[in-house]
Amino acid sequence: MTSQGRSSPLLKARNIWVVYSDGTVANKGVSLTLYEGEIHGLVGENGAGKTSFVHVLYGVVRPSAGEIYIQGVKTRIASPQDARRHGIFMVPQHNVLIPTLTGLDNIRLSNGAEAVDRVYRLVDELGIDVDLDTPVERLERGMVKKIEVLRALATGAKIVILDEPTSVMSPVEVEDLSRLLKTLRGAGYSFIFISHRLDEVVEICDRVTVLRDGQVAYSGGVDEVEKLYRLMFRGEEYLEASSMRRISPMLRVFLGIEGNGQEELARKYLSGSRGFTGYVPGNPYSAMVPGMSLVDNVRFRVLDQDIDYEGLTLRIVRSYEVVARDIYTPIDRLSGGNMQRFIVGREVELSEDRCVLMYPTRGLDMRSMALVHRRVWDAVERGCEVIYFTEDMEEALMLGGMISVVYRGRVSEPVSADEADVDRLKMLMSGIGWS
């Protein structure tokens, strides 16, 4: 169902500019039109300006220029309360529900008893499968997102903005969320769906807007993935690289959502290696020393060895494209992505015969991810065994190597990335098909 033919769009943003106080221009004249009963994808690399744009729609960020029309009427959205009055609700990237309360209690607490009634009516009428009676902290992340969507609708929202809802979901959870959104679309609700995974955007959305460097690179119907890729990224470098799909028994990839036994697996690989074993823990902040320079952040890791720390730091900064004024910059001066690439780089470069990387590209954009993958292969080529954990199936396939799925403490037989059956991996990740 497409809705382009309708005369008056539900929401229209025209020529939005966002300039932050530090001079960063996050949006350079972004326009977007949302029709009733539409799921509109908003895609782009990290830093493309997606969040900034929807923050304007939600009244969090004041645009420097541009207009917003709601059902044809020019409207100023000054605050989230304002946005909600106009039927717009945003589900932020990170969970905002109170973890110890059930979904129902969360809704009751923040939106009142009336909202609870509305949610019940929705669930009944549309036959939505949702668990509202379990404390949120014990639910899968996909279920939590579903509750957040329902909460948005309970406040009377007609338009729900979802900022990267799927970034930490398993494929089955994504399909589940997709089903919910499509059901709700049928009931007349509209969505702006932010993601940087194109396959799911193609699968879920009616139309898509591609942002690149704060500008609209494309807006219209959903086309083939390849074309969207090219629109989204500056170069095509990565598509080519990934199509090669290299294989080596020295690269072991463990695919699975965090908390399925990866810690134990990693610990096993961390012991029993002869040389220095590089290790990026799941939380990279526990592997760095804030307040110390980049050089000292290398030094602290291999303190008792005779190493040219400055030279090594410089090499890491260069080959991992870490943006820093110099190697004496305090590490907490770096942006999140640069910090992470630096830590990953340090561990990969220091590794002698083995390197254990837990979710090393989590939160990185495609370009950085591709860079890390290249360096991983460099390490493999110089004879270092790499143990690579990821939650993202697409990433596992792009990286190559021997893939095993990890689920509830079990590890599947490794298959090589070029022979991997995508559906089978998806099933295993979701707990299906284990003998």
Partner: protein
């Protein structure tokens, strides 16, 4: 060098804390009908320009500085030694033991000085071991041990070591042979502080041990990740700080009081926390901070005498400063966490 968000936060927080404390102190002066500018000028003159005052200021500064130097080491490791007061007292007691009980004459002040320091160090190592082995919070243990040391002091001054001749609760003056000589017209402790400061700077910034201490203080998880020995950091760090507090106690006993009395414990160990924090736990800034702070303390005491500003105002200010500086240090972890979220 570029400043990290944490360092910027630290600078702003310190300036703010000092400003608030000065404002409150000025408020008290006004409340008592004084003129703050005039009062501060008088304080400065009394503490630094008057020859007698300067000697007193330096006497105070040396003890304060030596204790703070030790604290700057453990604080860098993110460990809270709140027990410098007790370690200082015990240092004095141990030195007293050498003089009054053992009567060890060789080496003059050297033996009591070293034994005092060592005792202070071992006394601080107890909370260190408890922390390392059992995870007991060192804030509580170091604080509680202050009372143990304090009552031990009362026990000897009111009891076994009391001067039989006067009958007052003070110990007899020590013989001249034990006395720490003056250096350059000031108490010997000042020279000791000025010698120790660069040594600790070297330890902290140019040795592997110092580096590990700092890493541990900045991110414990990272220290564990890199496989550092917790015992050396926790027990060692507390030992060093106790060693210096004990040295300061022994130094005051041998170099300026020449006896023990109930007021031997006068809160220096707590004030030294302020000095260390004001100096950003930097061994080369500590001497300056301790001289300035000692000047303020001595100056405010004289003010109490000549201008009727009560000494309670001084305690109010130091207490306030301590509370603010400690809480900003605690908040530092949150700031780091926040900075990563933004």
């Amino acid at each position: 060098m570029e400043l990290s968000p944490m360092q910027i936060y630290r600078g702003v927080a310190t300036i703010l804390a000092v400003s608030i404390a000065v404002a409150v102190y000025s408020g008290v002066i006004i409340l008592y009908g004084g003129d703050p500018v005039e009062a501060y000028t008088k304080m400065f003159r009394n503490a630094f320009l008057d020859p007698y005052g300067l000697r007193e200021t330096m006497r105070l500064a040396s003890a304060l500085g030596i204790i703070s130097l030790g604290l700057s080491i453990v604080f860098r490791a993110g460990l809270w030694n709140i027990g410098a007061e007790g370690q200082y007292v015990l240092g004095g007691l141990a030195a007293g033991y050498v003089v009054y009980v053992l009567g060890l004459q060789q080496g003059g002040p050297l033996a009591p000085l070293l034994i005092g320091a060592l005792t202070g160090g071992l006394y601080a190592a107890i909370p260190g071991v408890l922390r390392w082995r059992l995870g007991v919070n060192e804030v509580l243990t170091t604080l509680m041990l202050n009372y143990v040391a304090l009552y031990l002091l009362y026990y000897v001054v009111y009891g076994v070591w009391r001067d039989p001749q006067t009958g007052f609760p003070v110990t007899p003056e020590i013989p001249g042979a034990y006395r720490l000589p003056e250096v350059g017209g000031f108490v010997g402790g000042l020279a000791i502080m000025l010698l120790i400061a660069p040594a600790l700077y070297y330890l902290l910034f140019h040795t592997r041990y110092g580096f590990k201490l700092r890493v541990y203080g900045l991110n414990r998880e990272a220290a564990e990740y890199a496989g550092y020995d917790r015992r050396a950091i926790i027990v060692g760090g507390l030992f060093i700080s106790g060693l210096l507090a004990g040295l300061a106690g022994a130094g005051d006993f041998l170099g300026s009081y020449y006896r023990l009395m109930p007021r031997f414990s006068s809160g220096l160990g707590y004030t030294a926390i302020i000095v260390a924090l004001l100096a950003y736990n930097h061994p080369l800034i500590v001497p300056i901070a301790s001289i300035l702070f000692a000047g303020f303390l001595y100056g405010s005491y004289t003010l109490a005498i000549v201008a009727d500003i009560p000494t309670e105002a001084t305690y109010l200010m130091t207490g306030l400063l301590l509370a603010m500086l400690v809480s900003t240090q605690y908040m530092e972890r949150w700031i780091g966490w926040l900075a990563r979220r933004l």
